[in-house]
Subunit: 134 residues, 6 copies
C-alpha cells in the first residue's frame, strides 16, 4: 500500500474500478449508500473497491469469482445480483457463474447453491441471457 496515498485518492481509485465493474448505474447505487451514511459509503468505495478490487495479482474476473463464492457460502443472496452483474460485466461467462454455483453445492451445501441459482436465473432473465438452447 503506497504510504502517501490519501483517502481521497483511495476513494477515486475505488470509483474508477466500480465504473469498470458496474457502470454509471452501479456507481450511483453505491453512492446512495454514501448519502445515508457517508463514512460507510467512503469505506465501501475506498477500502472495498479502491484498496481490494484495484490491486493487481488477481484480475477483476477472478475477484468476482471469489466474491460470488463468498456470498453464496455465507448465504448473502441479497448482495448477489450486484456481483453477478459485475461479474458478467468484467468477463465471467454465464456458464462459469453456473459452474461456480454447482461447485459451491459440494462445498457450502445444496441449500445455499439452490438459493444462488434462483438469483442467477433472475439476473440472466434481466439481461436476456438464455442458455437453454445451447
Amino acid at each position: 500500500m503506497k504510504a502517501n496515498k490519501t483517502n481521497q485518492e483511495r476513494y477515486a481509485a475505488g470509483i474508477d474500478t466500480l465504473q469498470t465493474m458496474v457502470g454509471d448505474h452501479g456507481v450511483s447505487m453505491i453512492k446512495q449508500i454514501g448519502e445515508f451514511f457517508p463514512d460507510f459509503g467512503h469505506t465501501l468505495v475506498a477500502f472495498g473497491f479502491g484498496d481490494l478490487y484495484s490491486r493487481d495479482i488477481l484480475d477483476l474476473k477472478q475477484r468476482e469469482m471469489i466474491t460470488i463464492t463468498s456470498l453464496i457460502t455465507q448465504g448473502a443472496t441479497e448482495q448477489l445480483p450486484f456481483h453477478l452483474h459485475a461479474g458478467l460485466n468484467v468477463g465471467l461467462k454465464p456458464e462459469e457463474i453456473l459452474e461456480i454455483i454447482l461447485h459451491c453445492g459440494g462445498y457450502a451445501g445444496f441449500p445455499k447453491a439452490c438459493g444462488a441459482l434462483d438469483v442467477a436465473r433472475k439476473v440472466f432473465n434481466e439481461r436476456g441471457i438464455d442458455l437453454t438452447n445451447k
Copy 2:
C-alpha cells in the same frame, strides 16, 4: 452428466483428478476416509472429485480458488491445508493465495482472513516457500 456412466467410472475419474491435484500422498489420505466409512469415501471421490472437479468450463486452478474461498468464508480452517497444497500443485501462485485471503477479509471479515493466513503461513513453511525477500 453422461447417462450411462457408472459409479465405478465416476470414482475412477475422481481418483484421476485427485492424483493430478494432490499426488499419491493426498490420494491415500482420502482413501483412509473410505476405510473408516466406505460410502462416504466413495461419495467424496465420485461426487466431489469425479463429478465436480473433473468437469470442464472451470479449470482446476479456478476450482481451487473457489474451494479455498468457500473454506475461508465458512471458517473451515482444518480443511484448508489440503486445498492450499492442492491449489499450489495445480498452478495457484503463493501470491495469489495471499491475495484471496486479503480479498476475503473484506467479504467474510478479518477474523476468518486472519485464521486462514495463519494456515497459509504453516503450509508455505512446509513447502519452503519464502515470500519475505520479494
Copy 3:
C-alpha cells in the same frame, strides 16, 4: 454404492424418492431447476435424492428431521417450505416440527428459530393445520 449403477439409474432413484416425498408438484419444481441448468438439476436429483435420501439406515422422516435442522441452523429459510411440506408428507407430525424448531432455539439461537417458526406458520396455514385448539 453399487459399482455398476449408472447416472441414469441414480437419477431415476432420485425421482422415485422425490415422488414419495413431495408428489407431482414437488417433482415438477425440481425439474424446473433442471430446465435452467441441466447438470445442476441432474446432480440435485441423482446425488441429493438418489444417493442420499434413497439410502437406508435412516428413513425419510428421520432424514427430513436432519434436513430441517440443517436448514434452520444455516438460516436457509427460503428452502424450508419445500422440506416442511416433504417432512409432513413422509410422517413428521406438525408438533414434531415445532419441537425441532424449539430445540434449535437452544442450539442455533433464537433468531434462527423465530425465522423458522414464521415459515412453519405459513406452511401450516397453507395445509389447514391448526394446532391452537389442541
Copy 4:
C-alpha cells in the same frame, strides 16, 4: 438464578422487560408467537427476556448492542427491525447503530454490513430519523 423463582415469575419478568424495550406493540408481536406455539412463546419471553435481558451487569442498551451485533454477524436481517426499534427505545442513538454496522463490516464482512444498513435505513425512515443534515 434464584432457586425458587417460578416459570410464571420468569415470564412476568420477561413481559416487564419487553414492555420497557418495545412497548405495547412489541409485546403483542411476541404474544402472537405464543398463540401459534405456546411453549415457544413462553420460552422466548421467560428465558430470552426474563432470564437474559432482565439480568444486571449489562444494561438494556448494552444488551441491544450485543444482540444487534449477533444478528448482523449471522445475517438474520429479518429479526433486525424489532431489535433496532428496541435499541433506539432503550437509548441507543441512531449514530451508534450506524457505527455498530460499520464496525461489523470489518468483523463480519461488508455483505452482512450492507444488508444491515439497508434495514437500518428503513427503520430510521419509519421513525422519521434523518441524519443527512447533521
Copy 5:
C-alpha cells in the same frame, strides 16, 4: 411449561436428563462449567437439559440427531464428542451417526461433514467401536 415450576426444579430435571444421557462423567463435566460461571451452568442445565431435552414429543435419540446435525452444520466440532457420546448412550447406532454425517455433506457441505467424520472416528475409537469388518 408448568407455571409454578421453580428454577430449582428445572435444574433438577436437567440433571436427571443429563444423567440418563451422559452418566456421572458427563454430569461432572457440565458441573465444572457451573463452578466457573454459576449462572451459565444453571442455564445450561435448567434450560438446555431441563426445559428442552426433558420435553416429550421427541425422544432423546431424536433430540441427539437434531443436536448433532446442528453442531455439524455450524461447524462446532469441539462440542461434537460430548453429543456423539450422548447420542450413542441414548440409542443412536454408530451407523446412524455416520449416516447423519453423510446426509449433512449434501446439506451443509463436505468440509463440515469431513470435520465431523474425523471427530466421529476418534469417539468410536475411544469406545472400541469398529465398523470396518461389517
Copy 6:
C-alpha cells in the same frame, strides 16, 4: 474520513490505538502478520485499528463488546484470546465478558457460548482472574 489523510497516517493511528488496547506484546503480534504478508498487515492496522477502532461515537470498551460478540457468533474462537485481553485492558470487567457470553447463548446458540466460555476461562487463568469466591 478526512480526505487528505494518508495511508501512513492511517497506519500510525492504528498502531496508536493498538498500543492502548494490547500494549507492546499485542502490537508485536500484529506486526508479525505484516512480516509474512505486508499488505495484509498494513490493512489490518490501517483499516481495522486505524479507520474503525480509532473512530469516536463508540469507545474502545464498546467496540470490544461488539468484536467479542461477533467472534462468538461466527465461532471464531481462535481470535477470541486477543480480543478478550484487549477488552479487559480497555475496561471490560470479567463479569461483563461472562455476561456477553451468556447473552450470546440465547442469540447464537449454546454451542458457540460454551466454546467461548472455555476460551474465557483460559484467558482469565492466564491473568490470574478468579471470580469463584465472589
